[in-house]
Symmetry: C2
Subunit: 126 residues, 2 copies
């Protein structure tokens, strides 16, 4: 069953990258709830989630770097590239049957670490 | 097999919260590679990973909020609470047999969103 989940998440990003919105919409539960805890933003419908993607500005492209799937849940990490810049996006997908019913997004940004206690923690040059 | 992975990740956080370092160390591959892409920090050994945890300052506690497991990989989201503040931590765990061989950590922080194109994206008050 986690293979079906994997196929669904791959399709989600393939169709989004291809701007095939009608097929993309068929993966979404009408009551899909979307949430960005970092900004406190949310969307309360599959139609709204689809609209967010289809109106997102720029020639963006999502490339999956990690994907772990269970029967009713997946967590996916993407490189989201737009205008020569790449951001890391982390999405928790929850399913209701064969439809995506909940998506929780995280966008971790680079930061300078505080002083560390342990000498084991090294840092690559920028 | 993903049930074994789940048990291992639950044990990782239970033992860390309990400061049971000797048992915690038994979950780690000697060559465990730890990485924080946001800061470019890394650790090149299980001993170093254990030392980072065992010397982490404060009365911290990790509580799992999401955990998705496959046979050789898991992604876990935690509330990491210390000194009355709670941060979100996202860890990708990779396994080599029954040992944790790679951990990639993300720490997404709150931010103010840019203006949005779609009217569907609403925002909760702070």
């Amino acid at each position: 069953m986690s293979q079906q989940t994997r196929a669904l998440i791959l399709q989600h990003w393939d169709l989004a990258n291809a701007r095939r919105w009608s097929e993309f919409g068929q993966l979404l539960h009408p009551d899909l709830f979307y949430e960005v805890p970092q900004t406190r933003e949310y969307i309360e419908s599959g139609a709204g989630y689809l609209e967010m993607f289809s109106t997102w500005p720029g020639e963006w492209k999502a490339e999956i770097t990690q994907l772990v799937c269970e029967e009713a849940k997946a967590i996916c990490i993407i490189d989201f590239t737009v205008g020569g810049e790449t951001m890391t996006g982390i999405s928790v997908f929850e399913l209701d049957g064969r439809l995506i019913s909940r998506v929780t997004d995280y966008w971790p940004e680079p930061y300078d670490p505080p002083p560390r206690v342990t000498p084991y923690l090294k840092r690559r040059p920028a």
